[in-house]
């Protein structure tokens, strides 16, 4: 789900753009580190592969078909940092050349698909990639990557004040669930086929992670994803929480300076309160994602 320009409220796209810049910078440095310099052609060609993979249809039901989204598959083969860089490059090319997704909304799309989607796709493999749950971790990675990106995108739209009747919201969540399961199945079968071709394509999961920790991490992702959704439907709750923690005052000081003349009454507007409250929640979860990613990468390099 690529969000075009004109859909997100200014505080939403602006803060996600600002958040995505250092995160992508970090990914780029990590993806370059420790690899021979042939990395740029490899990542570029793998990005082209993900594009081209959309042409190969997987039969789903009566007359319908789906295709690979690719976040989880890339993370399993290239590693999470490189996969994030590839997804970012894909989103940039899609926004610029194919008018698929907005330019200002690029930060939001990168956060949803290249950062959180890839991370959610890699997490199960990171914890269970060695044990008896190995194959299940491929499936779960595919499911979580699509679910996380889709629900985050939906939450950002809701935060921006796009009102959806409950039935439409339920319907779209159902569709997300179906496409997430499909992505899980595709990831699972493609990884299986890749392992028959050449086992070296799939990364080695580091041994020695406890299953409990894995469960905790996955539950955290699931909670984050659905927490965002709930928060965006009722941001006032989170806003109150933020207010009691003192974030509210700081947020008021930090809100966009170009609007200086309009700051009087700025936070009185219910729309902005909604957006700011939800954003505080999004920011918290984004921070948690980044922190978790660092922990994961640190424990792997150790």
């Amino acid at each position: 789900m690529h969000i075009p320009d004109g859909f997100l409220a200014a505080p939403v796209w602006a803060s996600l753009d600002v958040a995505a810049v250092p995160a992508v910078g970090y990914l780029v440095r990590r993806a370059q580190r420790g690899f021979e310099e042939s990395r740029a052609p490899l990542l570029g060609v793998m990005g082209a592969f993900v594009f081209a993979a959309q042409m190969i249809n997987f039969p789903v039901g009566i007359g319908t078909s789906g295709h690979l989204v690719g976040g989880a598959l890339l993370a399993l083969t290239l590693g999470p940092a490189s996969a994030g860089v590839v997804m970012t490059a894909i989103l940039a090319i899609q926004a610029l050349v194919f008018q698929d997704g907005g330019v200002l909304a690029l930060g939001a799309n990168v956060t949803n698909m290249a950062l959180c989607g890839v991370l959610a796709g890699y997490l199960p493999f990171h914890f269970w990639g060695n044990g008896p749950w190995r194959r299940f971790s491929f499936f779960l990675g595919g499911v979580l990557s699509v679910l996380a990106s889709a629900v985050l995108a939906l939450a950002q739209l809701l935060l921006s004040g796009i009102r959806m009747p409950g039935s439409v919201l339920g319907l779209s969540l159902g569709l997300f669930a179906v496409s997430a399961v499909l992505e899980g199945l595709i990831t699972l079968t493609v990884v299986g086929a890749l392992e028959t071709l050449n086992p070296g394509f799939i990364r080695q999961a580091t041994a020695g992670h406890s299953r409990a920790l894995g469960l905790l991490g996955t539950v955290a992702v699931a909670l984050a994803v659905f927490g965002v959704l709930i928060a965006s439907r009722d941001p006032d709750g989170i806003w109150k929480l933020a207010g009691s923690l003192g974030i509210a005052g700081r947020a008021q000081a930090l809100l966009p300076t170009p609007l200086a003349d309009y700051q009087v009454g700025f936070l009185q507007s219910p729309w902005l309160r909604r957006a700011a409250g939800g954003l505080a929640g999004l920011g918290l979860i984004f921070g948690a994602c980044v922190l978790f990613g660092r922990l994961v990468s640190k424990s792997r390099s150790a």
């Binding site: 690529h2 075009p4 320009d5 004109g6 859909f7 997100l8 200014a10 796209w13 992508v24 780029v28 370059q32 310099e37 042939s38 990395r39 740029a40 052609p41 490899l42 990542l43 570029g44 060609v45 793998m46 990005g47 082209a48 592969f49 081209a52 190969i56 249809n57 997987f58 039969p59 690979l68 598959l73 860089v85 590839v86 970012t88 490059a89 940039a92 090319i93 610029l96 050349v97 194919f98 008018q99 907005g102 330019v103 200002l104 004040g161 796009i162 009102r163 959806m164 009747p165 439409v168 595709i186 079968t189 493609v190 299986g192 086929a193 890749l194 028959t196 050449n198 394509f201 309009y262």
Partner: protein, 244 residues
């Protein structure tokens, strides 16, 4: 194909084509931000922005009808959400979603069809985007067509082997076959990347792409940027407020 047409357009000759990629990129960003934060009399504002973009199209000597049709690619997504907003009883938002997403897409289209991608990416690098990310994007764009063609061949081959057969039992087999095809495509792409890199090294690749002409940010570019930034901002200042 969509991108091939854009590629041809971007090699044209006009005042806009000659402008520095940085000036055009920054002008686009200013326009997008002004558009995204516009409120108030939507119809009048959209009309003025549309007129600005239209004059840019004429200035760039691009086929107007073709460009307008191409930016409509964004509309299916917008129409779906506009319909949802309408259902929820928010008609002004539905109109805003449609007009803002269409105008943004048109603006991006004008940038990409007056600037060849290598120049645009070099401009982005000069603005501060990491070199490595842009290299990946450049390779991606270059090999998109090659790998897509390969995928297309595999698709036709699968269809000619009976991949369109219906039935429950066949569906399972088709799913596996599609996964196998993807795995083969993956392996071929992987091997191709290695070959590409070795060939580039043997031709003296030093880790950077070179442009035929060094980009220069001259007075004309500065004037263009100023004008392109001021016009939409002025339109908004006269016609619309910040927030209703």
């Amino acid at each position: 194909m969509h991108h091939v047409v854009l590629e041809r357009w971007s090699r044209g000759r006009s005042v806009l084509h000659r402008r520095d990629a940085r000036a055009k990129t920054l002008a686009l960003l200013v326009f997008l931000v002004v558009l995204a934060t516009s409120y108030g009399p939507l119809a009048a504002l959209s009309g003025v922005y549309f007129a600005l973009l239209l004059s840019a199209l004429l200035l760039a000597r691009l086929p107007v009808a073709g460009a307008l049709a191409r930016s409509a690619l964004v509309l299916p997504f917008s129409v779906a959400f506009a319909a949802v907003s309408l259902l929820a009883g928010d008609a002004p938002r539905a109109a805003a979603l449609l007009s803002k997403s269409y105008l943004s897409a048109l603006a991006v289209l004008i940038l990409i069809s007056t600037t060849p991608l290598p120049q645009l990416l070099r401009g982005l690098e000069q603005i501060g985007v990491p070199h490595f990310l842009l290299m990946v994007a450049q390779f991606l764009y270059r090999y998109l067509f090659v790998i897509s063609e390969e995928a297309q061949h595999m698709r036709v081959a699968a269809l000619s082997r009976g991949a369109s057969v219906r039935g429950m039992a066949a569906r399972r087999a088709r799913f596996r076959a599609a996964a196998g095809a993807l795995a083969v495509l993956f392996a071929r792409s992987y091997a191709r990347a290695g070959g590409i890199h070795r060939a580039m090294l043997s031709r003296g690749f030093q880790g950077r792409f070179h442009l035929l002409a060094a980009p220069r940010f001259g007075w004309a570019d500065a004037a263009f940027l100023l004008l392109a930034a001021l016009l939409p901002a002025a339109a908004r200042g006269f016609l619309g407020g910040w927030r209703p």
